[in-house]
C-alpha cells in the first residue's frame, strides 16, 4: 500500500515535472539566430521579378502578403485583416491592418497595395500578365480599404494572390518604388518591407542577414533575433555543415532524402514531412506525342501498366515519397481522386503492345525511346534509371540521357526534342494555375513548363475553360475530378511519384514550418530553445 502510494506519488511528481518542463520547452521565447541553407544565391530580394523559390524564401520574411493560406487552402488574414466577396464573385474588398508599417516607419496603406497590383503585378511580374487582363479595376477606396473588380468570375482569385511563389506578389512600398522602374529599383537589392524581419546585409557569395523587426504589426512576433541565409552550393558539404551545426535548416528541395532515416534517428535534429502542401509537386514521365509510337494511346497505356510506380517511388525517394496516382497531388485533398489508376501488369502491357502493332522483334526488343532528365535532382535520375530498367523488361529499349538543367529545359520545352522526360510539376495551390497550363491545347507553346507533350483534348479544354468560373467549391471539385479521370485515360504523361516533402531542422528550433508553403514561408513563429 505504502509502496503503491509512493509509486503513484512519484509518478504524479514526475508527471508534474514532465508537464512543467515540457510546457516550458514549448513556450516560445524571444531570441536566437536561425541559419537557413540556400542552394544558391538569389538574384533579387523581392518577389516581383522572379518565381525563383530561393529569392522568394528570403523575400517572404521581409515583405508581407495581403493574405495567406491554411492547410485547407482557405485564405487567412495577413495585411488584410478581413475581406468580402460580392455575390457575383466579381468584387473583392480588403480591409487592411491599421497599425502595419514599413521598416522605414511609414504606414502601410491601400495605396501601397494598389501600386503593387496596378504597376507591378500587371506590368512586370513574370506571371501577372496571365491573369491581369481579367481585372476591371484595382484601387484604394480609402487609406485602409482596397478593392479589386474582375471582368468575369475567377474562383481561385484569393488563392492566387495568396500564392507568393506563382502569381501573387508580396506588397511593395509605393513611396520607395513610385516613379522609377520597378525592375531596376535599387531597393530590389536593399529591400524595405513590412514583414517580420528587416534586411541588414547581403555579403556577395556568402550570406544574407535579416534582423528582427521590433515594430512588426503582429504583436509579440517574431521570436527570432536574426535569420541568416547561407549560400551552400554543394549538397554533400551542406549536409556536413548541417550536422556540424553550422546551418539549422534544410528545406524540402535541398534535403538529401537518402539521409532522412539517419537524421530522423538523431535527436539533435527534427525531420518533418511537411512544407510543400501548397506546391503539391508530382514527378511525371512526360510523353512527346509527336513520337510515332507514343502518339498511340494503347502504347502509352501499355507503358503505364509496365511501370511499377511503387518501385519507382521507393527507389528514387528512398521510400520518403509515395506513388502518384493522379495528375494532381493528394495534398489538394478537396479535389483529389485516384480513379482511373493503372495497375502494374507487365503481361497486360506486352499484350497491348502486340495489339498496337509493336511485337517483339528477333532480338526481343520492340522499339526504342529516348528518355531525358536534368541533373541536379538525384531522385529524378534514379527514377529515370528505374523506368529504363522496367521498360526494357517489356522489350522497349530506352536510351537514357542526363542533361544539365538549363540545357534540359531548352531541349524539352523549347525544342521539343525528346521522347520521354522525367520532370516535376507543381500542381498547387490551385490546379487552375499549375495543372491547366500543362495540358491545355492553347498551351502548346515553346516556353518552359507548359504543354511540351503536344497533347490536345477539346473536351478537357472545355472543362479547363469553365471550371474556374464556378464559385461553388464543391462544383469545382467535381470538374477537377473529371479532369483527373480524363488525363489518366489519355496519359499525356504518366504521374510517377509525389515528391517528398521531407525537411530537417535543428531540434533547438520549433515551429519552423507552420503552413502549406513551409519551405519558403516567413519564420515569424519559429523560436529557439536555448
Amino acid at each position: 500500500m505504502y509502496q503503491a502510494l509512493c509509486r503513484s506519488g512519484a509518478l504524479a511528481v514526475a508527471l508534474l515535472l514532465g508537464t512543467v518542463t515540457w510546457g516550458h520547452a514549448q513556450e516560445p521565447q524571444p531570441g536566437g539566430t536561425f541559419i537557413a541553407a540556400l542552394e544558391g544565391e538569389p538574384a533579387t530580394l523581392t518577389a516581383h521579378l522572379t518565381t525563383d523559390a530561393v529569392a522568394v524564401s528570403v523575400a517572404s520574411n521581409i515583405f508581407s502578403n495581403l493574405i495567406g493560406l491554411d492547410y485547407d487552402f482557405n485564405p487567412v488574414p495577413e495585411l488584410a485583416k478581413s475581406w468580402t466577396v460580392s455575390e457575383d464573385g466579381l468584387t473583392y474588398t480588403f480591409n487592411l491592418e491599421e497599425n502595419a508599417q514599413w521598416h522605414d516607419g511609414q504606414p502601410v496603406t491601400a495605396a501601397d497595395v494598389e501600386y503593387t497590383f496596378a504597376e507591378v503585378l500587371a506590368k512586370v511580374h513574370p506571371r501577372g500578365s496571365s491573369w491581369w487582363p481579367n481585372v476591371e479595376s484595382a484601387k484604394a477606396l480609402d487609406t485602409h480599404t482596397f478593392e479589386v473588380k474582375l471582368k468575369s468570375p475567377y474562383a481561385p482569385f484569393l488563392t492566387m494572390i495568396a500564392s507568393t511563389l506563382s502569381s501573387g506578389a508580396l506588397i511593395l512600398p509605393k513611396h520607395i518604388y513610385e516613379g522609377a522602374d520597378p525592375r531596376t529599383n535599387p531597393a530590389n537589392l536593399k529591400p524595405v518591407g513590412s514583414g517580420p524581419f528587416k534586411f541588414e546585409a547581403w555579403e556577395a557569395g556568402n550570406n544574407i542577414v535579416l534582423v528582427k523587426n521590433e515594430n512588426y504589426w503582429k504583436p509579440n512576433l517574431p521570436y527570432l533575433d536574426r535569420i541568416v541565409f547561407r549560400f551552400t552550393p554543394d549538397e554533400a558539404s551542406r549536409l556536413i555543415a548541417f550536422e556540424a551545426g553550422d546551418v539549422d535548416f534544410l528545406h524540402s528541395y535541398i534535403m538529401p532524402i537518402d539521409q532522412a532515416q539517419r537524421l530522423r534517428a538523431d535527436d539533435r535534429f527534427t525531420v518533418v514531412n511537411s512544407g510543400l502542401e501548397a506546391v503539391a509537386p508530382n514527378d511525371f514521365l512526360l510523353f512527346n506525342l509527336r513520337n510515332e509510337a507514343l502518339s498511340k494511346l494503347e502504347v502509352r497505356q501499355a507503358l503505364a501498366h509496365a511501370i511499377d510506380r511503387k518501385e519507382v517511388a521507393a527507389k528514387s525517394t528512398f521510400s520518403e515519397g509515395v506513388p502518384a496516382n493522379s495528375f494532381v497531388n493528394s495534398s489538394l485533398h478537396w479535389l483529389f481522386t485516384e480513379e482511373g489508376n493503372y495497375s502494374f501488369d507487365p503481361a497486360q502491357a506486352e499484350k497491348m503492345l502486340d495489339a498496337a502493332g509493336y511485337p517483339r522483334k528477333q532480338d526481343g526488343t520492340r522499339f526504342e525511346l529516348r528518355l531525358v532528365w536534368a541533373t541536379g535532382r538525384p531522385y529524378e535520375a534514379r527514377a529515370g534509371e528505374v523506368v529504363k530498367d522496367q521498360l526494357s523488361r517489356i522489350g522497349v529499349t530506352v536510351v537514357a540521357q542526363a542533361m544539365e538543367r538549363t540545357t534540359f529545359i531548352e531541349e524539352v520545352f523549347t525544342n521539343w526534342n525528346f521522347d520521354m522526360a522525367v520532370q516535376g510539376f507543381t500542381t498547387g495551390p490551385d490546379p487552375t494555375f499549375n495543372v491547366t497550363p500543362r495540358y491545355h491545347t492553347a498551351q502548346i507553346k515553346k516556353i518552359p513548363f507548359v504543354n511540351a507533350m503536344g497533347y490536345s483534348n477539346p473536351k478537357l479544354d472545355e472543362l479547363f475553360d469553365s471550371e474556374y468560373k464556378m464559385l461553388d467549391r464543391g462544383e469545382r471539385a467535381e470538374s477537377w475530378k473529371e479532369v483527373q479521370r480524363i488525363l489518366m485515360a489519355d496519359l499525356p504523361a504518366l504521374p510517377l511519384f509525389e515528391l517528398t516533402q521531407t525537411s530537417a531542422f535543428s531540434a533547438k528550433f520549433k515551429d519552423v514550418i507552420t503552413g502549406p508553403l513551409g519551405y519558403i514561408q516567413n519564420r515569424e513563429r519559429a523560436f529557439y530553445i536555448p
Partner: protein
C-alpha cells in the same frame, strides 16, 4: 630589357583580345537560354519571355550583340549581369578578394613547403624521409580536390568539430576587428589546405627531381671540395639552380589554380570567383562569364610576365634583350 617586356605586354594584350572574341561565340554556341534561368520555377507567359529578351537585347542577331559588346569592352565597360542587374565589374570585384586570399595562401603554402620538403628529401636521398615524403606526394597528387575537401570536412568539421564547415565568417557569432581576422583565418584553414595539397605534391616532385640533377653537377663536387658546409651546398648551391623550372610551374599553375577554385569554393561555400563562375554558367549569365574569362586571362598573362621577370632575379645568367 624594357623593350622586351613592352613587347610581352603587347602580346599578352593581343592574347586577351583573341580570348574575348573566341569565348563570346563559344558561350553563345552552348545550349541553354538565359531567360529560362531568369524567370524562376513557374511557367511564365510568352509575352513576358519576349519582354525580357527585348530588355536585355537577347533578341538581336549574335553578330550585332558581339559588336555592341566589343564596343563596350573597348571602353573597359564589362556590361551588366543578366541575373543580378548590377555592373559585372562590381560583382567580380566583390568576389575577387576571397579568391585571391584563398589562392594566395595556397600558392605560398604549397610553394614554400613543397620546396623545403623537396630539398630535405634530396639531402637525405633514399632514406626513409625521402621514401615517406615521396609516397605521400603521390597520394596528394592523385587525390581529387572535391573528395579530399569532403574528407577534411568530415574529419575536422563534423567529427572533431575543430573547424567550421562552410563560408568565410561565423554567422552565429559575428565579430569585428581582430576577432574577424581570426574568424576568417579559422575558416580559411580547410579550403586552403585542400587547395594546396595537389600543388604541394606537384612542386615537391618537380623540385626533388631537379635537386637530384643539380646535386650531380660538377659545381657541387667543386663546392664540396672547397669545403663548403653540406647544408650550404644543398640549400644554396643546388637549390638555387634547381628552382628555375619550379618557378615556371608556379607561374603556369596560377591559371590552373583559378580553374581549381571552382571545386574548392563550391565544397566549402567560399564566396569567391570560382563559385560565381559556376553559378554564372548555370544561369547562362553571359556578361559575368565574359567578365571572368577576361579577368582570368589577364591574370594568367600577367603571372607569366612576372615569372619571366623573376627568372632574371633568380638567375643572373638570364638576360632579356
Amino acid at each position: 630589357m624594357l623593350s622586351y617586356f613592352a613587347r610581352r605586354v603587347w602580346q599578352g594584350f593581343l592574347v586577351i583580345v583573341v580570348i574575348i572574341c573566341l569565348n563570346f561565340f563559344l558561350i553563345h554556341a552552348a545550349p541553354g537560354d538565359p531567360v529560362n534561368a531568369l524567370i524562376g520555377t513557374m511557367a511564365p507567359t510568352p509575352e513576358y519571355m519576349e519582354q525580357v529578351r527585348r530588355e536585355y537585347g537577347l533578341d538581336e542577331p549574335l553578330l550585332w550583340q558581339f559588336l555592341r559588346y566589343a564596343a563596350r569592352m573597348a571602353q573597359f565597360d564589362f556590361g551588366e549581369s543578366l541575373r543580378f542587374r548590377q555592373p559585372v565589374i562590381d560583382i567580380i570585384l566583390a568576389r575577387l578578394p576571397a579568391t585571391l586570399l584563398l589562392m594566395g595562401t595556397a600558392l605560398v603554402l604549397s610553394s614554400t613547403v613543397g620546396i623545403v620538403l623537396a630539398a630535405a628529401a634530396a639531402k637525405f636521398r633514399d632514406s626513409w624521409v625521402d621514401r615517406v615524403l615521396t609516397t605521400t606526394s603521390i597520394v596528394g597528387f592523385a587525390m581529387p580536390a572535391f573528395w579530399l575537401g569532403q574528407l577534411m570536412l568530415i574529419v575536422f568539421a563534423l567529427n572533431l568539430n575543430w573547424l567550421p564547415a562552410q563560408g568565410m565568417y561565423s554567422l552565429r557569432a559575428p565579430s569585428d576587428g581582430f576577432g574577424r581576422v581570426l574568424d576568417i583565418l579559422r575558416h580559411l584553414i580547410l579550403p586552403a589546405l585542400t587547395y594546396s595539397v595537389y600543388h604541394l605534391a606537384l612542386i615537391y616532385r618537380l623540385t626533388r627531381v631537379k635537386m637530384h640533377e643539380a646535386l650531380a653537377q660538377d659545381y657541387i663536387i667543386a663546392a664540396r671540395a672547397r669545403g663548403v658546409a653540406e647544408h650550404r651546398v644543398v640549400y644554396v648551391h643546388a637549390l638555387r639552380n634547381a628552382i628555375l623550372p619550379v618557378v615556371t610551374i608556379i607561374g603556369l599553375n596560377f591559371g590552373f589554380m583559378l580553374a581549381g577554385s571552382v571545386l574548392v569554393e563550391t565544397v566549402f561555400a567560399w564566396p569567391g570567383l570560382g563559385r560565381l563562375f559556376y553559378e554564372a554558367i548555370s544561369a547562362r549569365d553571359y556578361p559575368v562569364l565574359m567578365g571572368i574569362f577576361t579577368l582570368v586571362s589577364g591574370m594568367v598573362v600577367i603571372a607569366n610576365i612576372l615569372t619571366d621577370m623573376l627568372y632574371a632575379v633568380i638567375d643572373p645568367r638570364v638576360v632579356y634583350g
